[in-house]
């Protein structure tokens, strides 16, 4: 027998589903910072939602990318780096745009997190498009980069950190590479 409490929970779930349904298959998921001209390629008009990964540890890409989008009158939606899978599971993602530093026939060197999006794209049959990065990044960050967020320490003392900033994305996970 359904109770009032059950009904309230169902109503809440329905409301969420309704909101997500409105953007089903319309999300362009962006990771990294592209050369400015690349942002002009984003489709104009309604029907597209642009989601931006925050890009730990520096968040610099989220900041820069969000500013580029706002400058083009596109209001981005920020998500944490662990939330991409949810968008795929809910079938919201239309395509993925990743920044890359260099590429060859085997694959491309992308900002850290690119492999997660490549694998998710493959599993969910979502195109993964690569565009050139605006800047060269180091391969590894410092351990302490991950111990802080916005200048505030978030990790216990004397802990170790592993901070890759770039990773290789094999060709099998890439749909298009744009020069």
């Amino acid at each position: 027998m359904s109770t009032d409490t059950d009904q309230k929970a169902e109503d809440r779930a329905s409301a969420q589903d309704l909101a997500l349904k409105d953007i089903e298959g319309s999300v362009i998921l962006i990771q990294g910072v592209f050369k400015p001209a690349v942002f002009n390629l984003l489709p104009k008009g309604n029907g597209n939602e642009v989601f931006v990964m925050e890009g730990r540890p520096s968040l610099e890409s989220a900041n820069t990318t969000c500013q580029e989008l706002l400058g083009r009158k596109i209001r981005p939606t920020l998500i944490a780096d662990n939330m991409a899978g949810f968008l795929f599971y809910k079938r919201l993602v239309k395509e993925v745009w990743l920044s890359y530093q260099m590429a060859d026939e085997q694959g491309a060197l992308c900002q850290i997190g690119g492999l997660i999006l490549g694998v998710l794209g493959k599993r969910h049959h979502v195109p993964v498009k690569l565009y050139p990065s605006s800047e060269e990044s180091k391969l590894m960050g410092k351990q302490r980069d991950i111990f802080y967020f916005q200048g505030v320490k978030v990790a216990p003392a004397n802990i170790k950190g592993y901070v890759p900033l770039m990773e290789w994305l094999p060709r099998e996970y890439i749909t298009e590479i744009h020069a």
């Binding site: 169902e10 968040l59 939606t77 998500i79 690119g114 916005q150 978030v154 802990i159 592993y162």
Partner: protein, 332 residues
């Protein structure tokens, strides 16, 4: 008994009733402080749950012990029909308030157990206060034994030389298993994801693993693919907040993409579950969408400048086909 040899993490049993007060570990203050919040009634219990002062198993403990609080608050008298019905009414209202605290964790499943005991007491014309209190205390004692058994199962799963990735926090069990492994002279390495936006991996998991003497390294949530591609981990162990009849489960946001990556790279994926058949599949689990402000700001400072929207699903769902093995405990 081997049970007594397991060093306990504060996160293993983060809420304890002492007299008229439930002391709840404020997980948001770790690792800076180990401080307990005073909870005296249902309203305060819902508050600590909603504000994520406690989560996962802590929520379960708060729920069960809030009934004990409220039974105490009502005072003596439970055998006559009038007092019994008043107490049943109080228990039902407590259940309703707790059920509405957060959507994804199966609060209604947990509270319905207590409501059932209360109804049984009335049917059998026994002291509802005594019966429900004893039932909750016995039930929690049983859960404690089963969780300690599971700690040993996790330790048995971990082999010498393993490198294990975990996400968010599994309420003490993994850290205690790490301690057992050290006792058994097994060397294991742990990678903890930081788990944005609340950093449970940085603040809780890395902290408690370190307290247990485990070798632990912190990584950003986006470094998981790199770890797997570079063969730096050979097992994934995560917890769960809710299970389905078909084996799907919900856990902290980020678990799904870790499971997908593990499948892609052929890495065994283990989950600690509390099985339930109340929900058929993961598609039926209501996922809590939290206030985006929790993502867009940190300690009241904006994460990015400008008029930017945010989206913060608190959990995601892992389909059963991505799971290598569920390490379950029966909570019913």
């Amino acid at each position: 008994m081997e049970t007594k040899t397991i060093k306990e993490s504060p996160l293993f049993w983060p809420a304890r009733l002492k007299g008229p007060v439930l002391w709840v570990l404020d997980e948001t203050l770790i690792p800076q402080k180990l401080k307990y919040i005073k909870v005296r009634n249902t309203k305060e219990a819902v508050d600590v749950i909603r504000k994520m002062k406690t989560r996962a198993f802590g929520q379960f403990l708060v729920v069960m012990q809030t009934f004990l609080l409220e039974i105490n608050n009502v005072g003596n008298g439970g055998t006559g029909r009038g007092p019994s019905l008043r107490l049943l009414n109080k228990i039902q209202k407590t259940a309703e308030a707790l059920n509405n605290s957060r959507p994804t964790f199966p609060f209604a499943e947990v509270t319905s157990i207590v409501v059932r005991w209360a109804r049984q007491a009335i049917e059998k014309k026994i002291d509802i206060r005594v019966f429900v209190t004893k039932s909750i205390e016995g039930y929690l004692a049983g859960i404690r034994v089963r969780r300690l058994e599971r700690v040993r199962k996790i330790a048995a799963l971990i082999k010498n030389g393993d490198s294990i990735l975990t996400h968010c926090n599994v309420s003490g069990e993994l850290a205690m298993a790490a301690y057992l492994c050290r006792q058994q002279n097994k060397q294991a390495h742990f990678f903890a994801t930081e788990t944005r936006p609340y950093f449970q991996g940085s603040k809780l998991t890395a902290w408690e693993l370190q307290r247990m003497g485990a070798d632990v390294t912190l990584v950003a949530d986006n470094a998981v693919g790199s770890l797997m591609a570079d063969k730096l981990i050979n097992k994934v162990i995560v917890g769960s907040d809710r299970s389905c009849a078909n084996g799907d489960f919900a856990n902290k946001i980020g678990t799904y993409q870790i499971a997908v990556l593990a499948k892609e790279f052929g890495i065994p994926f283990y989950v600690l579950t509390q099985p339930s058949d109340k929900v058929k599949t993961g598609r039926d689990i209501p996922v809590e969408i939290r206030n985006p402000r929790e993502l867009l700001t940190y300690l009241k400072r904006k994460v990015v400048s400008g008029v930017v929207s945010g989206f913060y699903p608190g959990f995601d769902v892992v389909p059963h086909e991505l799971i290598t093995k569920a390490i379950a405990i029966d909570v019913h």
